[in-house]
Amino acid sequence: MVAVDVINFKDSDTTIHRKKQETDTYVLGTIHPFRKTHKSILGKFIQEFNLVSSDRRSWKILLFGVLNVICTACLLTWCNSTNSMALTAYTYLTIFDLFSLITCLISSWVSMKKPSQVFSFGFDRFEVLSVFASTVLVQLGALFILKESVERFMEQPEVHTGRLLVGTFVALFFNLLTLLSVKNKPFVYVSEAASTSWLQEHVADLSRSLCGIIPALSSFLLPRMNPFVLINLAGAFALGITYMLIEINNYNAVDTASAMAIALMTFGTMYPMSVYSGKVLLQTTPSHVIGQLDKLLREVSTLDGVLEVRNEHFWTIGFGALAGSVHVRIRRDANEQMVLAHVTNRLHTLVSTLTVQIFKDDWSRPLLVSSVLPAGTHSLSDYIGPSGFLGPSPPPEFSFNTPGRNIQPVVLSSTQQHRPYSLGLAYGSSPYAGMLGQGVGLGMGARMPSVQGYRTSFSAAPQRYGSNPLPSQMNQYRP
């Protein structure tokens, strides 16, 4: 009990504090338009960098980053000396690894940051943007390779094979090492969530037919392949063939051809990921939740008093968490707060950052029941409070000046856990009905049947109690 109070106090204190601070900054903002944002970009960057590097886990990423830079520089000089386009195309994959390491750093930075005033949704989107930027940059590099290759077809320069194979193996080893030893959350998520690339599809198709011959391989071959490992292996394979053909037959054109092949594979691998992250950036509704959302919205539109649901916007903030806003038009005589609560309750399971605007036509026209509605809030405390209390005088469950006091049985005794609710809920439907019956008068006939909607949800509530299904469930991405 004490603990609860302490937690409670602390939390509420910080909330208030934050609010105060915010208003302070607002006030400040009006007086000093350029309040201390003019710290140099470099200084800010170093500050954030220190924040990230204070975590031990990011040291590894930094180490790999340094190694990657060295390796890339080495490979680029070899590309120059061998004059091989294919090796250059393969080196771009190493550069992509550097980008993915940066993304990884950003992701660990994001996890440390709290939403600020200007980035009110938090910093999760930085991850998405960096995934998008790195995939797009690699594709642009591949486009450049394609262009150069077309030019090379006109006049094929000679390719020296001296460092070709060495470069290939260094790059392959390094890429695989980076991929397998650094846990890259954003890219792992995107590569799993995005649709399969054509390279993956072909490998899956081949391995399926291979598994038809050798069933023992199925556990190894049938699961979805990691696209990055796949493209690294395929690129190394292409380079190996190039080396062989140039050594044996002096077919220099093979180099250009395999550069094009690697560039095309890069396109194929990166395109689905950039589409996925681009769609997140475009604030689109992810297509896999549309079914669930539709179901919820249908449920919402059948709630009592709801006339229509419109302007629904749902989109993902980062990778995973949904945000959304929706306008609900209700009947003139419906209780706004109750509808709001129910709509929020329905949608909250799926959409963690939700805003619902209740809309009424002709609200300024006087309504019969409008005078009765405040009374409804009184009777509310009747059904919420345990059975003994009557009238507004005893403190309801959540009175303003005694926060959390009435929660204690809920917290401490697990046997009684859901008693107040189940009791209250058992009573719940009848006071509602009763209240409506006495209050509405005219509209009652129309109303009575639709109370059903609420009742069903009440009966569902106790089962869900304690299972805590809320945002954490939706938030598949961040554990």
Partner: protein, 774 residues
């Protein structure tokens, strides 16, 4: 795993077509294989014959022989119903086209030799049709078919590029006047016009002939039904075509002297060819197609044909087979035969694989959507939706519609016109480069094409921006523009990076630059880009110059570099985006529109312009003073400038994409929020989110806590008005009273939520007290 698959009825094939046991089909398969072997032999033989007999004469003899045999077997005149006059005309057409195709095929044979002809020309119709359907429709039938198509293309490319045919030497000494007739002469000049070696020309010719053959076969199917069977049509058509060819043959043999010593010695090989290539193959193929499936027939047939072709090619010049060859030629000819090379072997392997993949039955005929599972656990598919969706427009109509859309709006129109101009210039350059065989021009042309891709992206984004909002894009497509601006910014960064790397390597080792072609090209490019700048700076000052007119555009420079004749032009300049945020911008929302897309396109054009200017400058410097170092320094300068000028664009686009509170609205919003708090009855607000969705939409959500006795709708109205003044035009306000939290705590569930609710109410209380005191 195996068990699991076979238990599935659909994939286990139990519901599929019934397969005839292999044992009964073995004789047909053996027959087919033997026929194909004979056919390969016949084609090798005919290659030898074609060295002495003219193509037209050869074809005439084949057709005539075939017609005689078929008349004997088929009796097309005495059996079946009479052929009408109209049908005779169609048969005539059929015959003419078929003889043209065979002419092309046999001419290809003389060019590339028998093995390559077998590989290229003797594909079954089914294979080619499924290849084309993979290439030109998106319902190709899964990744395996795509792989087959890729193999096919690789095989053709292998033949084109990696086949070091020894015959090229022989063809090179082929004098132009040597050609026997006008036909072959025309074909030769056509091929030499393409600028490829003869045997490569043959490859192209054979591929074309293959496509024609397939189209012709599918087209003539209806006629064969009308005539009364494919065999009757074949017989009649052969007869007619031999009649058609007759006058030509007479003219030919009277005007040119024949190289044949004695026709009688050629009778036996001709008979063999007529029998194996024309008659036996036709009959056996039709029988096997009826008995086996067409797909299997195609698979076995082509595989066998290619393999026997490979075998024969290996042994054809061998002394052992000399007895077999009817035409024993003098030994010196053998050295210049079309021999086996690595490229041919590889491409034969690829052809075999491609054929076997493309002719394998496709796994799923139609793509259905999974609906659910039947009570037995079988998956249920819905095939309707797909069929309904496939109401694709015809191509011209699509082009017309999209053109209309493009021309409707100012931005896309500008981009489109400029793109056309740019492409025209590029193609003129490319064409002239090919004409004069100047590698520098060609590579510069490709460079321009590379740059054009940014324009295409911009055009596409400008088009998409106007699409209607859908379920998935619930706010509309306006944000595409910003994403495209971002991508264009990244594009410029990549260009800057490459220019930088290039110029650093040039700084270390400045190459000689041939300045002959550079000046006119860069002047042309400059003119084109100046037009673009005029067009876009208008749009630009409309769009992106924020209040302060796009003051100074300090452009720059360029870099032109070229080994030998190469000249790449890049350039960049610093557009006039003077960001005067916060300084006296008008308070009316939507007064200015930030169009990232147009900014990106404009930066590209500016970069190109300055590139051309730079090329001109460095050309002058190099040719006048011989300062070779001027070029890399120039490039370095440009790279830096591109980089610097892109940063503002990227920064702005990033801010929008990251859902940052729009910086230029920040102050207004803070004012507005203060005002909101002062609205009567409002206790506090939480979770204010404001972000720019696209150029014209600023969206926002806010939660308000109000006192219980205030009407919510009035508060919503007031808040909406206040925030609209601050520029937010897509707002959602959630108004919460004390009752809401009570309802929520009644409905809701976890302990944490209850705690959070309590805190919310606590804060409400706090503010209530605060306002009371005040």
């Amino acid at each position: 795993m195996d068990d699991k698959y076979s238990s599935n009825v659909i994939s286990g094939g139990k519901l599929g077509r019934v397969e005839v046991p292999n044992a009964r089909l073995t004789r047909y398969i053996v027959l087919l294989l033997l026929t194909k072997l004979l056919k390969a032999l016949g084609i090798f033989e005919s290659y030898d014959l074609l060295k002495v007999v003219h193509v037209v004469q050869f074809l005439f003899i084949l057709k005539l022989g075939c017609a005689v045999i078929l008349l004997f077997f088929q009796k097309p005149f005495s059996s079946g119903k009479m052929v009408a006059k109209r049908q005779w005309i169609r048969i005539l057409k059929h015959a003419v086209i078929s003889s043209v195709i065979s002419l092309l095929g046999f001419f290809g044979l003389t060019l590339c030799g028998p093995l390559r002809t077998l590989l290229l020309f003797e594909h079954s119709d089914l294979v080619v049709i499924s290849l084309l359907s993979v290439l030109f429709t998106n319902s190709g039938g899964g990744p395996s078919k795509t792989r087959g198509a890729a193999f096919f293309i690789i095989a053709v490319v292998c033949l084109l590029l990696f086949d070091n045919d020894d015959l090229m030497a022989k063809m090179a000494e082929h004098p132009e006047g040597h050609h026997d007739s006008a036909l072959t002469h025309a074909l030769y000049t056509g091929i030499s016009f393409l600028g490829v070696a003869d045997h490569k020309g043959g490859v192209v010719l054979l591929v074309l002939a293959l496509c024609l053959k397939v189209a012709f076969h599918t087209h003539s199917r209806k006629l064969s039904v009308e005539i009364g069977g494919a065999k009757r049509l074949y017989a009649l058509s052969n007869l007619v075509s031999s009649v058609v060819l007759l006058p030509w043959v007479i003219v030919l043999s009277s005007t040119t002297e024949s190289k044949v010593e004695s026709w009688s010695s050629l009778a036996l090989p001709f008979a063999l060819i007529v029998f194996s290539v024309m008659v036996l193959d036709f009959y056996v193929e039709s029988i096997c197609t009826a008995k086996l499936e067409a797909l299997r027939c195609a698979r076995y047939g082509s595989a066998c044909l290619f393999l026997s072709g490979l075998l024969l090619a290996n042994f054809w010049t061998h002394p052992l087979t000399d007895q077999l060859r009817a035409m024993s030629k003098s030994g010196q000819q053998a050295s210049t035969e079309h021999v086996l090379s690595g490229g041919v072997l590889v491409s034969a392997c690829f052809f075999v694989m491609a054929d076997s993949i493309l002719s394998s039955p496709s796994e799923k005929g139609q793509k259905g959507t999974l609906v659910g599972y039947s009570p037995e656990g079988m998956p249920l598919y819905n095939l309707m939706g797909d069929a309904l969706q496939h109401s694709s427009q015809s191509l011209p109509r699509f082009i017309k519609d999209s053109l209309k859309q493009i021309l409707e709006e100012y931005d896309s129109r500008q981009i489109f016109y400029f793109l056309c101009l740019n492409l025209a210039f590029t193609f003129v350059e490319l064409f002239y480069g090919v004409w004069t065989n100047s590698l520098g021009l060609i590579s510069d042309g490709f460079h321009m094409l590379f740059d054009c891709s940014a324009l295409v992206l911009g055009l596409f984004a400008a088009l998409m921006t106007r699409w209607k909002a859908t379920r998935i894009y619930s706010y509309g497509y306006g944000r595409v523009e910003i994403l495209s601006g971002f991508i264009n910014g990244l594009f410029l960064m990549v260009i800057a990076f490459f220019v930088f790397v290039e110029s650093v390597s040039r700084l270390i080792d400045p190459p000689n630059i041939n300045t002959v072609m550079l000046a006119p090209v860069s002047v042309g490019g400059l003119l084109v880009n100046l037009v673009g700048i005029c067009a876009f700076s208008h749009a630009h000052s409309h769009g992106a110059s924020k209040g302060s007119c796009s003051s100074h555009e300090h452009g720059h420079s360029h870099h032109g570099h070229g080994t030998g004749e190469h000249s790449h032009t890049h350039g960049h300049s610093h557009g006039g985006h003077s960001h005067s945020h916060g300084h006296g911008h008008s308070h009316s929302p939507g007064g200015r529109s930030m169009n990232a897309n147009m900014r990106g396109v404009f930066l590209h054009v500016l970069a190109d312009t300055m590139g051309s200017v730079g090329v001109i400058i460095s050309t002058v410097l190099i040719s006048q003073f011989g300062w070779l170092i001027a070029d890399p320094i120039c490039s370095l300068f440009i790279a830096t400038l591109i980089f610097l000028s892109v940063i503002p664009l990227l920064k702005d686009a990033c801010e929008v994409l990251l859902l940052r509170t729009p910086p230029e609205q920040e102050k207004d919003l803070n004012f507005a929020l203060e005002k909101v708090q002062k609205i009567e009855g409002v206790l506090s607000y939480r979770d204010p989110h404001f972000w720019r969705h696209s150029a014209s939409v600023i969206a926002g959500t806010i939660h308000l806590q109000i006192m219980s006795d205030v009407v919510e709708q009035r508060v919503i109205q007031q808040v909406t008005a206040v925030l609209k003044d601050a520029g937010v035009n897509n707002l959602t306000v959630q108004v919460e009273k004390e009752a809401y939290f009570q309802h929520m705590s009644g409905l809701s569930t976890g302990f944490h939520e209850v705690l959070a609710m309590t805190q919310q109410m606590e804060s409400m209380k706090y503010y209530k007290d605060g306002t009371c005191i005040m």
